[in-house]
């Protein structure tokens, strides 16, 4: 059996859950058609469970407990350790979200079972399933096999499998409650309500064109070069996270999973490698241009147009050309 652990917040299903259902269906097909169950944990799960029951799966299991709302790592690990022991799945699959990153490694350690994280596709090796993940900043792909006893825990990168490919069932899957006992006194984390920082002055999501700078810009005092290009294009300036971490540009100009999500007509990336956490914030842009000295940079996988070269030579030439 393959167990998918779906994710919800305030009763709303995270769309990444459907991506993992799609991944589970592919894994099932590769491993002899094992049945799939989907588990949901939290306080009030009726709506999310109803939505998931449309999937072509054997069963939707809800673990509804006051101690699981709001989320805590200790609460989720306690609940899932019992659920996994009771259900005895071969694989337990999760989306690789911030939430999963927070508790899945602890669950794996508690169960003493293998965990392969941030998987982008399935592969084969020596007649068994291998999981492909990107390492060395996306420069290499590694097919990984898991050792030791089942269950094997796997988290999937956002977008690795398309939610639209998740097969729907002919009739709704049964929804049933799974009982676990959680001793609330053993939950050590006391979470407060999530919040956003004060409204930002710049709203990059409205920009028609964006020039984004990455670490390739090298120094703060090189930023005027990128600003001049932005001006010549009528574009807003944005950046990868390390540029904002260093304080060279304000955080409101950061694009990516922990910054803004943008979809301009033109996204021109200067010396940005194209890490997944950056890509999720800009890949919906209509036209993407990458200027990078490394021909193997993952950003070229996203770009419509690319120039392999030194940005300090290409950008002045571009500015000149635009001003002609």
């Amino acid at each position: 059996m393959i167990l998918v652990v779906a994710e919800q917040r305030d009763g709303r299903l995270n769309r990444a859950s459907w991506e993992v259902v799609a991944a589970a269906q592919r894994l099932a097909a590769k491993t002899g058609g094992a049945p799939i169950k989907v588990a949901l944990l939290g306080g009030d799960l009726a709506a999310a469970a109803g939505e998931l029951s449309a999937a072509a799966v054997a069963e939707v299991l809800t673990v509804e407990q006051a101690a699981l709302e709001p989320y805590t790592a200790d609460g989720f690990v306690a609940a899932l350790a019992q659920l996994v022991a009771g259900q005895a799945p071969t694989y337990v699959l999760f989306p690789h979200t911030y939430l999963a990153r927070d508790f899945v490694p602890k669950l794996a350690a508690r169960l003493d079972r293998a965990l392969v994280a941030d998987v982008v596709s399935l592969a084969e090796a020596d007649g068994t399933v291998a999981f492909t993940r990107l390492i060395f900043q996306g420069k290499l792909a590694a097919d990984v096999v898991l050792e030791g006893e089942a269950p094997y825990l796997v988290t999937f990168q956002a977008g690795a499998f398309s939610a639209d490919l998740a097969e729907r069932g002919a009739s709704p899957a049964p929804v049933s409650r799974a009982d676990v006992t959680i001793d609330a006194a053993l939950i050590r984390q006391k979470p407060e309500a999530p919040f956003r920082e004060a409204k930002q002055a710049v709203d990059l999501s409205q920009a028609q064109r964006i020039v984004a700078v990455g670490r390739g810009i090298r120094a703060r005092d090189q930023l005027p070069l990128a600003e001049a290009l932005a001006k010549a294009l009528g574009a807003e300036l944005a950046a990868s996270r390390p540029i904002c971490d260093a304080g060279w540009l304000p955080i409101e100009r950061q694009v990516g999973s922990s910054g803004q999500t943008v979809a301009p007509k033109l996204y021109l990336a200067l010396g940005v490698s194209g890490a997944i956490q950056h890509a999720v914030g800009m890949k919906a842009s209509k036209t993407i241009v990458a200027i990078n000295k490394d021909a193997e940079a993952p950003m070229f996988e996203l770009a419509d147009y690319g120039i392999v070269g030194d940005l300090f030579e290409v950008v002045p030439a571009l500015i000149k050309e635009l001003q002609r």
Binding site: K106, L115, Q189, K190, S258, E301, A317
Partner: protein
Amino acid sequence: MKIAVCIKQVPARDWQPRVNESRTWVRDEDAAFEMNEPDAYALEEGLRLKGRHGGEVVVCSAGPSRVSHVIREALARGADRAIHVESDGAASADAFEVAGALAEAMSGESFDLVLTGLQSDDQGFAQTGVVLAERLGVPHATIIMEVKVDGGALRVKRELEGGWFQWVAMPLPALLTIQSGINQLRYATLKGIMAAKKKDIRKVAASGAHRSRQRIVNLYAPKKTKQTQLIGGTPAEAARELVKRLRDEARAID
């Protein structure tokens, strides 16, 4: 407060990895190495907490002998002493093996707070800190952007996706995985570098009791799926062609 900071030494970011003959790991003889970036932020946070609350900062690193370079660097930035878990395999090992070895070496130290980076720039498991928390039997929180200590309690700001945050309180001892950008890094001073030479590095042999649960069976350049139009020529030629295509083909500029 007794603070441990776990640090990994990783190949420098601009290094182009080459695959070994069996396609199971990289050939890194020619690589330059550096401190994993999120770990550098964890170290800085540890030093700042010591500045506010007193105590000591102990750097822990598992890896081959070359790891002593990042250990010295951490000591030069202000850490008080270090534990080096000697293991040639640690560089390619998984998070279970490394966390297991670290937990063993840290037992008996009774740290109040253990800090790690949120993931490494090489294999990027994003697991070592959290698995270590379980092995040490302490609560944890991940992707931390602010740390407040008040007596025996900890209050930390977790980064969530899409610009959201959340404060979480928990008792000490605890483990936190630190996100890049939590603070501004300091660099070693000449005085720090001199002082580091006299600081204690306790060497511990990894017992080998903790084995990796995952094994790379094939390592290769990622498959290309997108047909990017690459524009060549001199910078001036490439610029002219790009502007032309952005105007006429993509209609992305006027």
